[in-house]
Amino acid sequence: MNTELKLQALVDGELDAREVRELETLLAQDAHSAALLQELKWTRSALVSHEADVKLPESREFYWSKISRAIEAEEKHAVTAPPERVWWLRFLYPAAGLAAMVAVMFVVSGGRTTDGSASESVTEDVNVVSFRSESEKMSVVYVADENGNFSPVSQEAKHEPEAEK
């Protein structure tokens, strides 16, 4: 803390006894510091108890009517507002949507790979097996009977246009 701020702290009674003694020694030798201390004291005493006398420019009834209306509105809002949700619930709907989308895409694609090789997909709950071969442009779906024997129920072969052959 520099000397000027120490002088101010002295005026405000924020120094301990040792710091006060040190400053008194300085003040006895330094006229500028003594003058600055006097200025700070004058300013402080001018301010204390001389705050501008300001009165509210509205009648009691008018002023209160606005406050009471605001209180009523806040209380009404507090009653009708839904309870605050737990933070992780904010992520629940987007995450569930994303998971559903991934599942749908997986089922629709039949687990096909991007390198043109054949692949199989089994959905255990419905006892369905699908087979797709990219190289032969063909998809086959097998459904199991009550004995667990799979038989093909649909077969699709994609024929390329003549121009591309």
């Binding site: 803390m1 000027e4 701020l5 101010q8 702290a9 405000d12 924020e14 500028h32 003058a35 600055l36 006097q38 200025e39 700070l40 004058w42 300013t43 402080r44 005493s45 001018a46 301010l47 204390v48 001389h50 705050e51 501008a52 006398d53 300001v54 009165k55 509210l56 420019p57 509205e58 009691r60 002023y63 209160w64 606005k66 406050i67 009471s68 605001a70 209180i71 806040e74």
Partner: protein, 200 residues
């Protein structure tokens, strides 16, 4: 069965207790008693009548909502004043973010300007009537930036210590001290100028 309250004669603590139990009439009486002080504090910080009215009313609404938190550690008036001071500071910070800084304010932030001011060697308030001194102080306060004005208000009018001011203004004690020092030096200089103006 509880005794009916004579609202006009009741003490603040009785009115606060009744308000905490949901008695709006008791709260209205508290508003009537302290509205001038709360408005005056808002006005001293904002320097704008309309904003001061709005913020003081907002302070009363907040007080009603937080009445249960009031434990009586300080007087009700002090507690209310702290609420309005915080609202004013929030508003002033928002305003500061949206307006350009003046060159003077930038100088103040950089520091050192107060050291270049000559020391006032005659008491600028000497021989002045009380009402005249109040007017001059008010005029001089109007010329300070909000940070300097607020630190003076909190220290001189609210009688807060450096560390309390630092907490309210969300800054360090060192910043409080340098702002207070600048504000006092500037105020002394402004009061002296006002005195010279009137004498000439």
């Amino acid at each position: 069965m509880p005794q009916p309250i004579d609202y006009k004669a009741a003490l603040d603590v009785q009115l606060v207790a009744a308000s905490q139990a949901g008695d709006m009439v008791a709260f209205e009486e508290l508003v009537a008693r302290h509205r001038d002080k709360i408005y005056a504090r808002a006005f001293s910080m904002m320097r704008n009548e309309e904003e001061a009215i709005d913020l003081s009313q907002e302070a009363w609404v907040k007080a009603w909502q937080r009445l249960k938190q009031f434990q009586g550690d300080s007087s009700f008036a002090t507690w209310m004043t702290r609420i309005v001071i915080n609202l004013c500071l929030d508003q002033l910070r928002r305003q500061k973010r949206t307006r350009a800084e003046s060159i003077e304010q930038l100088d103040e932030e950089l520091g050192g300007v107060e050291r270049q001011m000559p020391v006032v060697t005659t008491n600028p308030s000497e021989g002045l009537e009380r009402s005249e001194l109040r007017k001059r102080i008010d005029k001089a306060m109007n010329q300070l930036s909000y940070e300097h004005r607020t630190v003076l208000i909190l220290h001189e009018f609210e009688e807060m210590e450096y560390k309390q001011i630092a907490k309210v203004m969300n800054c360090s004690i060192g910043t409080v001290m340098s702002r207070l020092f600048y504000a006092r030096r500037r105020l002394a200089s402004l009061l002296q100028s006002l005195k010279k103006e009137q004498q000439s």
